[in-house]
C-alpha cells in the first residue's frame, strides 16, 4: 500500500501499564475516509488505542503514523526519537476525539465550546469560527442551544455538542470512544443518527469503539475484533457479524447479544 493511501498506521505498537501489557505489537492500518470499528471485550485495550492516537498516552514500543507523519516519534537526521510536545501538537491537529463522558467545558457556553479551539489554536477569525459552529450545531440538531450552558443540556445533547466541537477543528480522523454508552437508549439513538449522517456526508476517517452492533454494521467499512493485545479478526461487517471465522469473535458477539 503506498504511504499516501494510509491515514493511520500502527506498527508493532506495545503499550504497558506497569506489568499489564495491553497492546502486544499491535499492527493495523486505516485508509483515508475509511470507517473502522473496533470491538472486543471490556478491558482489552480499545480505549487505549484511541488514547494513544490522541497523544494522551505514550507508546512503550513500535510506532504510530498519521498520514505521512509519525505521531509518537519524530525524525531527527535519519533517526527516530520520541516526539516532543511541539511535534505532538502538530500531528494532533489532524485528529479529533469524542469521549464517553462528553468532556464539554462547563465554564463555556455551547458556542464557545465550539469556537474556543478554532480561534485560539487554528487562529480562525471569530466570525468565521462562529459561522462554522452554527452550521455544525445545525447539523447535530441543536441550533437553538447556541447560548445554553452544558449543564443545561441532556446527556444526548451534550454528546452531540461534543461531536460538533470535535468536527469544528476539521480533523482528518475522528475517534469515537463508546460515545453512547453513558446515554439512555432513546438519547443514544439521536447521537447515532448524527454519526450516521457524518459518516455518509463527510470524508473524515472514523475510528470507532462501540457496543452498538447494529450501528457498527451500518457505518463500518471494516470491523476489527481486538483481544489479548492483538487484532484477531479484520473483516467487513457483514462477514464478521454473520460468519465470524474466529471462535473468540463468535463468543464475544454471542455475549454482547445476550446482554
Amino acid at each position: 500500500m503506498p504511504a499516501d493511501d494510509v491515514m493511520i498506521r500502527f506498527d508493532k505498537v506495545v503499550k504497558r501499564f506497569g506489568d499489564n501489557v495491553v497492546l502486544r505489537e499491535l499492527d493495523f492500518q486505516a485508509r483515508p475516509g475509511e470507517h473502522v470499528t473496533l470491538i472486543g471485550p471490556s478491558g482489552s485495550g480499545k480505549t487505549t488505542i484511541l488514547r494513544l492516537l490522541m497523544g494522551l498516552e505514550r507508546v512503550n514500543g513500535g510506532t504510530i503514523q498519521v498520514g505521512d507523519e509519525y505521531l509518537s516519534h519524530m525524525r531527527r537526521g535519519d533517526k527516530l526519537v520520541p516526539a516532543d510536545e511541539r511535534h505532538l501538537r502538530k500531528v494532533r491537529r489532524r485528529i479529533g476525539m469524542v469521549f464517553q463522558q462528553f468532556n464539554l467545558f462547563p465554564n463555556m457556553n455551547v458556542l464557545r465550546n465550539l469556537t474556543e479551539a478554532p480561534i485560539s489554536v487554528l487562529g480562525q477569525p471569530r466570525e468565521q469560527a462562529e459561522a462554522r459552529a452554527k452550521e455544525l450545531l445545525d447539523m447535530v440538531g441543536l441550533a437553538e442551544k447556541l447560548t445554553a450552558n452544558p449543564a443545561e443540556l441532556s446527556g444526548g445533547q451534550q454528546q452531540r455538542v461534543a461531536i460538533a466541537r470535535a468536527l469544528a477543528m476539521q480533523p482528518d480522523v475522528l475517534l469515537l470512544d463508546e460515545v453512547t454508552s453513558a446515554l439512555d437508549p432513546e438519547l443514544a439513538a439521536g447521537v447515532l443518527d448524527v454519526l450516521r449522517d457524518i459518516a455518509r456526508s463527510t470524508d473524515v476517517t472514523l475510528l470507532c469503539v462501540t457496543h452498538a452492533m447494529k450501528f457498527a454494521r451500518d457505518i463500518s467499512d471494516r470491523v476489527l475484533m481486538f483481544d489479548g493485545g492483538k487484532i484477531i479478526e479484520d473483516a467487513p461487517p457483514a462477514e464478521i457479524f454473520d460468519s465470524p471465522r474466529e471462535a473468540r469473535t463468535r463468543d464475544f458477539l454471542q455475549s454482547v447479544i445476550e446482554t
Binding site: 490522541m54 497523544g55 494522551l56 510536545e85 501538537r89 494532533r92 491537529r93 485528529i95 479529533g96 476525539m97 469521549f99 463522558q101 468532556n103 464539554l104 467545558f105 462547563p106 465554564n107 463555556m108 474556543e116 479551539a117 485560539s120 489554536v121 450552558n149 452544558p150 449543564a151 466541537r165 470535535a166 477543528m169
Partner: protein
C-alpha cells in the same frame, strides 16, 4: 464602665485605616504569590517545582513573628536600609499567607477532573491555554472558601504589626489606651475585638459574592453552601 466608650472607639478607629491597608495589601500580595507559586508547583520543569516548594515549605515552616522581626530588624542590617514598617508588614503578611495560598491553588487545579484536561488536549489547546481557558475558570470556585479562611487569618495576623510600631487597631489599644485608662481595659478590648469581628465579617461577605461569581464562571448552578470554616485537616 462605658463612660469613655466614644473616646475609645474613635481612638481605635484611628488605627482602622492601617489595619485595612495592611490586610488589603497583604491579601493582594497573597493572591499574587499563591497563583505564581501554586502554578509553579504544577510546572513540568523540576527546577521550577523545586523552587516553589522551597518557598512554600520555608515560609510555612517558620513562625510569622520571626519572619516579621527578621525582615524588620535583621534585613536592614544586611542590606543597609530600613523598610517602612507598614511595607515590611505587608511583605511578611503576603509572603507568609501566599505560601499557604499556593497549596490552595495547587489543590484546586488538581481537583478539576482529569477529563477536562484531556478534553482540552484533544482540541489541541497548548499547556498555557489549557490552564487559562479551561482549568482555572473551573478551579476558582474551589479556591474561594479556603481563601476566605486564609484572608481572615491574615486579618488576624495584621495585629502583629503592632509589634513593629505600626499604629493599627491593636497598637492604638495597647499602646495608646490601656496605659492611660487603667481599670477600663475590658471596654477597650471588647471594642477592639468587635472591630476585628466586623472586619472578618466583611471579608466573609465579600468572599460569598466572589464565590457566587466564581460558580457562574465555572458554569455551575449556584448552590446554597453551608460549609463551615476550618474543616478537617487543612
Amino acid at each position: 464602665m462605658f463612660d469613655n466608650f466614644e473616646l475609645f472607639l474613635t481612638t481605635l478607629l484611628r488605627g482602622a485605616p492601617l489595619t485595612v491597608a495592611a490586610t488589603g495589601g497583604g491579601i493582594v500580595l497573597t493572591i499574587l504569590l499563591s497563583f505564581v507559586a501554586g502554578l509553579a508547583m504544577l510546572s513540568r520543569s523540576r527546577w521550577v517545582r523545586f523552587l516553589a516548594r522551597v518557598y512554600v515549605e520555608g515560609w510555612r515552616g517558620t513562625s510569622e513573628v520571626v519572619q516579621l522581626f527578621w525582615i524588620y530588624f535583621a534585613v536592614p542590617l544586611l542590606v543597609g536600609f530600613q523598610l517602612v514598617p507598614l511595607w515590611a508588614g505587608i511583605l511578611v503578611l503576603g509572603l507568609n499567607h501566599g505560601a499557604y495560598g499556593a497549596e490552595i491553588v495547587r489543590g484546586a487545579v488538581n481537583a478539576v477532573p482529569r477529563a477536562q484536561h484531556e478534553g482540552a488536549i484533544a482540541l489541541n489547546l497548548g499547556p498555557a491555554q489549557r490552564i487559562r481557558k479551561v482549568i482555572l475558570p473551573q478551579a476558582f470556585v474551589e479556591m474561594v472558601p479556603p481563601f476566605n479562611n486564609l484572608f481572615i487569618q491574615l486579618l488576624k495576623s495584621s495585629s502583629l504589626l503592632s509589634l513593629i510600631t505600626v499604629t493599627e487597631i491593636t497598637n492604638q489599644g495597647v499602646q495608646v489606651l490601656v496605659p492611660n485608662y487603667t481599670g477600663q481595659a475590658l471596654t477597650i478590648f471588647l471594642i477592639m475585638l468587635v472591630l476585628y469581628l466586623i472586619l472578618s465579617l466583611v471579608i466573609t461577605v465579600v468572599m460569598r459574592l466572589v464565590e457566587r461569581w466564581a460558580a457562574r464562571v465555572a458554569g455551575r448552578p449556584a448552590t446554597a453552601r453551608a460549609r463551615v470554616t476550618g474543616e478537617l485537616g487543612i
